[in-house]
Symmetry: C2
Subunit: 220 residues, 2 copies
Amino acid sequence: MTFPRSTPPEPQPHLPETPHPPQRHPGGRRPGENRTREQILDAARECFAERGYDATSVRRIAETAGVDQALVHHFYGTKEKLFLNALEIPMRMPEALAEAAAGDRAGLGSRIVLAHLRVWEDASARPAMMTTLRSAATHRSAAAVLRDYATGTIREALGKVITGEDAELRIALIATTLIGLSLTRYLVRLDPVPEASPQELAARLGPVIDLHLDPADPAA
Amino acid sequence: MTFPRSTPPEPQPHLPETPHPPQRHPGGRRPGENRTREQILDAARECFAERGYDATSVRRIAETAGVDQALVHHFYGTKEKLFLNALEIPMRMPEALAEAAAGDRAGLGSRIVLAHLRVWEDASARPAMMTTLRSAATHRSAAAVLRDYATGTIREALGKVITGEDAELRIALIATTLIGLSLTRYLVRLDPVPEASPQELAARLGPVIDLHLDPADPAA
DNA sequence: GTCTATATAACGATAGAC
DNA sequence: GTCTATCGTTATATAGAC
């Protein structure tokens, strides 16, 4: 229960004004039930991921979703609340990292990099992560989600195998490595990085992770 | 002549409409000459660095500079052009990196990290770099300046000492390391990273740079 | 639930007096 | 060079009909 979902400043305890599912059905999903709410959220992630928070208007999200602008406000209240819902590190990420960390110690760093990239390469998970990364520099809530990814997911996956001095700092630097990789690969697109294969990147960055997990010398 | 200054889409060849120094003086700076233009630029860097491009209004920049809003447009035309002027990797950065790279091979990675941090820690250079880094995720021009820093400055400083396979990728990954470090230290503020000393960070990341400069094995 | 119409506010930018 | 006043646009958000 660490945080598949984000950590917004307001946890929005019940949302009494938002008509979630208006009526519950014992036998599962009502046939022909409304999917508009999810369509709007998907469209929001798509737009936020592509252009960032400020450059994305509610009108554009509505247009992308194929609905009216007023509906966006009807379901999510404000643009900011919709944004908080769009921020997310997908559940698959903690799962993938935990699975990579569970295996043998040899090649652990490489597997971590591959797991990180596998989730990022997944088209269905991309928009939410892209939204988070792109907005982290300008939006506190997005930065908070990114921090949670680092000190939550990564720390949880690697906390058991890491030992020695400055373990906290070294975990943070592993997170820095992965976040920096996503930044230059998917956002800034720094020349050979976007074109490199996951295997190449794992070959280059796996040893870096391993170095943080198991430093050679305190001083040289 | 690589790029102390940025690489904006329009190089603004002569700026015929902008009254740079209205009249030249043979004996140097005219006493009591106008410093308003620089005040505005400094204020813009301060605001852009703190809140990003979109969240910064021209009105706010003017207020920070202690001048009228119309003056900002008078000197820089549009907000976008002012932003392009605010984007900059300070001259000191290429100098510092080149100096670090010139020394002995032992401890090279550590010296690179220290040089990078030394410039970032300088209060006078910070706003321009912060503006660049903060806006890189949402503004093409800022991302371009960041790419130039990587493929220009870093490549120029380390291109001679790096050899072997995938040299381009490995240089880009060194840039990724430094940019990622600035991201988690100054922007996202990922927990122990902002509090760590430059020496601690150099001790942890120096070997990473060295690993990219001189990889141990193609495959393990 | 969905749409039309609109209230309200802030923005970038300009014109023109001094 | 500096300021006052304002134009035109666009944004979020809401009220209310259907």
